[in-house]
Symmetry: C2
Subunit: 321 residues, 2 copies
Amino acid sequence: MKIEEIEAQDLNPQRFIEEKITEISSIAGNGLAVNALSGGVDSSAVTILGHRALGERLKTYFIDHGLMREDEPQRIVPLFKELGVPVELVDSRAEFFNALKGMTDPEEKREAITQAFYKDVFSRLVKESGAGYLLQGTNYTDIEETVAGVKRQHNILEQLGIDTQKQYGYKLIEPLIQLRKPAVREIAKTLELPEEIYNRPPFPGPALAARIIGEVTQERVETVRKATQIVEQALSDTGAFQYLAILHEDKVTGVRDGKRDYGLQIEVRCWDSEDAKTGSPTRVGYDILEKLAERITTEVPGVVSVTYNVTKKPPSTIEAV
Amino acid sequence: MKIEEIEAQDLNPQRFIEEKITEISSIAGNGLAVNALSGGVDSSAVTILGHRALGERLKTYFIDHGLMREDEPQRIVPLFKELGVPVELVDSRAEFFNALKGMTDPEEKREAITQAFYKDVFSRLVKESGAGYLLQGTNYTDIEETVAGVKRQHNILEQLGIDTQKQYGYKLIEPLIQLRKPAVREIAKTLELPEEIYNRPPFPGPALAARIIGEVTQERVETVRKATQIVEQALSDTGAFQYLAILHEDKVTGVRDGKRDYGLQIEVRCWDSEDAKTGSPTRVGYDILEKLAERITTEVPGVVSVTYNVTKKPPSTIEAV
């Protein structure tokens, strides 16, 4: 089935929400559904849509795969509790780090995360809860990039010919699949999610694993997590579409206290973009960039060098992995 | 022997030149000497000093180790011929690529280049010419960094306890060893070298091998050479102290014509510095940086991403390797 995009300017958010609530109800019938909330705008919007449609028949999980930003579970779970949506925190860190062990190829890493999500964690949660449906926030850009062969987005299954019912034991419901990011933000705002959610910078499906060149280990996630926190603090005022820190595998020579210090390099990217389809490096002032480099090389152990990406997309992509 | 720095403001160039000419003559006596000209300001100044001191008893070689910038031998050899200094071009490319084969550690690569220079190539040239002396342009920053253990500069031997007479069969004469870059430029200018020489941006001893993370192969040198040429064209108007392109070993995901293109990344560095001891990233305008990234990703095969380094030295160093 060909999916038609609904562009932001053609969107009537209130009507779209009503239609999707009706659609989710009619697909799920009296069945149970589950969904995974990451705190990003897509999964947050789906969580609210699903709860309006199914009430207590939707069970929402927050899957902590260990690849999250600093303190994510502690921020997101209470925020939804306050909105009246109970969220169950699932600690899946061991499963994910196990699945990623020894892998360095970007597409292999993405595939390992997909499998850990859908085959391992979700299959178990669905089985335990007796649900027949998985609700998720797949958007139009995700399917476009995966089908075109640019990057395997972790949430793309049916468009690649994967029968989730047969392979994983549940059916997918994807209410946002016709929308790109700006339209999803409209929906999230209309659903009365707080601004910190509906204006949240995008975060990749494979999370911090998408920000690590080479093997994903707990130690390396810790390094990129610290750098990410500093980058998000330093660049949130830019109004940029997205900003991120990437841990390289290459080491470079540095110097500390007059002695050689062969260490790590962090690459910073900050994007002006409408929809992630194309993008330009944000023209961040050098005062901010130098201060950022100083903080990262001081506060993140082992890092001696920080670069800023100055390439457009294309030929770059938003993330490095 | 402790070497005392002569700072640029305390330098009397004309007197310094006269003293060094006398010194070189008295050390070499009636003996023969050789030197290697790379076209950088240090070796160029030494070439002229040596010829004024020894005339035809100094034989100058241009050693093409295959790690040069685009067209270097074709530019430098004729330039010195016009100044009345005959230069013999020595093709040592095979020797150097052989010495570097399979090496990825920065200090190992630097050591391999040092050995290829002094033990292989120079020893042979000295033997063939019957010379007893090697004149070279070691400067104060070189010895400082090597002795402090920051980076092994290829031309540092005696300060590390290496007896060149015993090990390689020749004695070293190093007339510029008390000077840093700005003072060397003064000397080069006073020696009536053309401005393109006395104002030349510094270039590392290991040449383009210092700009390659990972193994140094002919193909990878070709990639960084093309990027270097573009960077030098794009940034020469900045008035910066030094500007360079680094080829990374890490690959990143890119996109071309809507398809995935997993490719190379070039890191650009451009330094404001007085003497290479400390440095800050030059505040190059984004118009220039974006154009530079576009040229590199278009003109250098395989490159999909370009970064700009925003770290100060320290904790960065000028070069990456």
